[in-house]
Amino acid sequence: SQQGEEDPQALSIQEGENATMNCSYKTSINNLQWYRQNSGRGLVHLILIRSNEREKHSGRLRVTLDTSKKSSSLLITASRAADTASYFCATGPQTGANNLFFGTGTRLTVIP
């Protein structure tokens, strides 16, 4: 299976704190993406990092990628209650179509 794994599975923090989620994957990739999913809804794309990039920022989001360790992390700074959601990493393989293989997800709860 090409599915990745994320940890922790669940994370609960106070509003204003930072949240860090980690993703590990198994195969060589072209890119790694992070998505957010609110309960019972579709996925929303957050950020994409390519295999030749090591770090990327978007607003309060910071993503790192270590291809030698086949791992990535997502940092959300100054969290808000509205950040409460599940977060999934997804890897795009080196070859073939733009298929994505999703990790198991981290359920983030931000307490107001």
Binding site: G42, H45, N98
Partner: protein
């Protein structure tokens, strides 16, 4: 706004009764995807269309079929739903190169 639309949002069917889920996109993207997501699990790719070319994942059951009559629409047909097919079905659209996918809100399927 350009988007991916799924209908219906909730579908109830009986064991063994065929059901069709629909997806449309206004993004004019070449590729459309169908994912199955069971409760608290990662989305799992079932198949995708690159223009009119159908690409099935190796472990997608034969019970699942898809049609793409034109660029905008894509359908998921479940020929004989079983209890294990109860899940959220997510449709996504994306470009031909390595980039983000745009997801619809999903259809939650209940099998009685």
């Amino acid at each position: 706004d350009a988007m991916v639309i799924q209908n219906p949002r909730y579908q109830v069917t009986q064991f063994g009764k065929p059901v069709t889920l629909s997806c449309s996109q206004t993004l004019n993207h070449n590729v459309m995807y169908w994912y199955q997501q069971k409760s608290s699990q990662a989305p799992k790719l079932l198949f995708h269309y690159y223009d009119k070319d159908f690409n099935n994942e190796a472990d997608t059951p034969d019970n699942f079929q898809s049609r793409r009559p034109n660029t905008s629409f894509c359908f998921l047909d479940i020929r004989s739903p079983g209890l294990g097919d109860a899940a959220m079905y997510l449709c996504a659209a994306g470009g031909p190169t390595y980039n983000e996918q745009f997801f619809g809100p999903g259809t939650r399927l209940t099998v009685l």
